[in-house]
Amino acid sequence: MTESSASYVPTLLQDAVNWAQKYSLFTYPFATACCAMEFMSTMGPRYDIARFGAEFPRFSPRQADLLIVIGTITERQAPVLRRVYDQMPDPKWVMAFGVCASTGGFYQNYTVTPGADQVIPVDVYVPGCPPRPEQVLDGLMTLQRRIQEHRGNCQQDIGNTAAIGYTDRRKLPVLQDGTSMTLLPDERLPQDGRVR
């Protein structure tokens, strides 16, 4: 197989994989505050998020690949969010739902984390306090576009996953004690370098 095809085939594969991923997003709604009400509406019968293949909320991070941060993240909540994020298997995407999750909104004080991106990398920011369901759906479509273009944060971390099987398993987070919340992606490798 020539060099060009060796890089060409995986790229095609990657596109196909991305296409499949963007239409089968399993969401983990990390709902903390007011925005959860609008999220209920977004999931509800009128604005039906199911039309975009993201209707299935998984309340276990190990089964989800889209983390929707819904509502204010306080300093007390931040480690929890980080841990939930670390427990999600790659590839994973994050949507900041509302201004509180994006920047802290108009809560600029001693207890509110100024944006979820202080703790985890965020792919899509949906403004609004709370955002209308239409905005959320727009944000979801934007995310799907990014997934297809292979521009998600974790996708850029991992690189062309199709080139070596489906997922570079070494990139999977170490699911262990609470210290995993502070681990950086390169520290997540097992000590002996063994690929599980």
Binding site: F30, M37, M40, S41, R46, T111
Partner: protein, 437 residues
């Protein structure tokens, strides 16, 4: 239904003694076991089991993302619990001290974000009490406040019920309740321009008048909501699973409820007919004919029934208000309190200065302190404001109903099954923004 003034005797208090209590709400030893069951039970007692510390939340879907329960369970039975809140503490008071009185309305919206209009009204009334203009609020403004407030109460109870029941597996109820709530939100969006966080009230009245077609639109929506509520009741109230999980679960006696500071539906579910709208009629609530539903037993089912009935009463109030509402102004005619018209602001220096000083310095509230309380979605919503004579409050304390109800959660889940935490927690309708502020 007439509001009894003396406390009715509650169902025998069983929940405090975790050992002799089983989650069906019957006293232990009430039902004799069959010999084979007895033998099985004896063997089970001899089995070497040990207790387990289980961490429920804060990111547990049934914990609404903001409450963490550290449970010590023996098998399925909860032996001990530590309820931890504060995961949504957003510094409401600190923010209020830096904001003008008008700027606080958006923060107030996000306290009980399921019924923001009620918080709006409560806070506005507190400031008006300090200003001493409670009697000068235009009649029409009071009626508008009642209408939007009661609609918000309906939305509040709908959200609580649909969420609680969907956590029990009844996803249909979630969708139907959601549809009914969308009807309410459509009305409130027509009035205020926002679906959820309205900031519609102002000090001295409301921001602007109702829409022209509000009357018939509201009547139509009320009919729709009634129909959906009937559907929900048909769906769940004869449902065996639902009843088993609601009836006799999470009991609390009237005495304990009062001592815990319960108010609103959770207190009325214990048989205590305390409703601020009846006992201390504020605004124009004395113009309406409505009942204060109470239920006996203080368990999940009682709370469910009270909420269902309250929605009906709220809709009754709205219907009467739509008939009685007079024409007129919707905010007090006082240039020191109400903003000038935009036409004046853009075209005359006088209006510009007035608007500028209102926005930048805030309307000046005389020094003093006041505690004003209204009937919020979850009970007595109080605001304790200390003013220092400037345009910003020196202290703005919100008396959150949820906070005191959640404080009793530990007692209510003690001895219950692990699975019962979900319906109990769902039925007290803990709202994070209000509980943690």
């Amino acid at each position: 239904m007439s509001a009894p003034t003396t406390l009715p005797s509650a169902r025998p208090v069983a929940h405090t003694i975790a050992e002799t209590y089983d989650h069906r709400g019957r006293q232990a030893g009430e039902m004799p076991l069959s010999p084979s069951m007895q033998q099985f039970a004896d063997e089970a007692e001899r089995l070497p089991t040990d207790e387990l510390i289980l961490n429920m939340g804060p990111s547990h879907p049934a914990m609404h993302g903001t409450v963490r329960c550290v449970l010590r369970v023996d098998g399925e039975t909860i032996k001990d619990a530590d309820v931890q809140i504060g995961y949504l503490h957003r510094g409401f008071e600190k923010e209020s001290e830096a904001a003008t009185y008008t700027q606080i309305f958006p923060y107030v919206d996000r306290l009980n974000y399921v019924s923001p209009m009620l918080n709006n009204v409560g806070f506005a009334m507190a400031v008006e009490k300090l200003l001493g203009i409670t009697a000068q609020i235009p009649e029409r403004a009071e009626y508008i406040r009642v209408i939007v407030g009661e609609l918000a109460r309906v939305a509040d109870h709908l959200t609580c019920l649909s969420a609680a029941i969907s956590e029990l597996g009844g996803l249909t109820v979630f969708f139907w309740g959601n549809r009914a709530r969308e009807h309410v939100w459509e009305l409130l969006e027509d009035v205020s321009g926002a679906r959820m966080t309205h900031s519609y009230c102002r000090i001295g009245g409301v921001a602007w008048d109702l829409t022209r077609d509000f009357d018939e639109k509201c009547r139509g929506k009320i009919a729709k909501i009634r129909g959906l509520v009937v559907d929900i009741r048909k769906l769940v109230e004869r449902n065996r699973i639902f009843l088993d999980r609601m009836e006799g679960v999470g009991c609390i006696s009237a005495h304990d409820a009062i001592s815990y500071g319960f108010t609103g539906p959770c207190l009325r579910a214990c048989g205590v007919a305390y409703d601020v709208r009846k006992d201390h009629p504020y605004s124009v609530y004395d113009h309406f004919d409505f009942d204060v539903p109470i239920a006996d037993g203080g368990d999940n089912l009682a709370r469910y029934l009270v909420r269902i009935e309250e929605m009906e009463q709220s809709l009754r109030i709205v219907e009467q208000a739509l008939v009685q509402i007079p024409p007129g102004a919707v905010i007090v005619d006082d240039p020191l309190i109400a903003l000038p018209a935009k036409r004046e602001v853009y075209n005359s220096i006088e209006g510009m200065i007035a608007h500028f000083k209102h926005i930048m310095d805030g309307l000046v509230v005389p020094a003093g302190e006041a505690y004003s309380f209204t009937e919020g979605g979850n009970g007595e919503l109080g605001f304790y404001i200390v003013a220092d004579g400037t345009g910003r409050p020196y202290k703005n304390r919100c008396r959150p109903p949820c906070f005191y109800i959640t404080a009793a959660l530990r007692q209510m889940i003690l001895g219950a099954n692990l699975a019962d935490v979900v319906p109990i927690f769902g039925s007290i309708n803990m709202i994070g923004g209000e509980c943690d502020r």
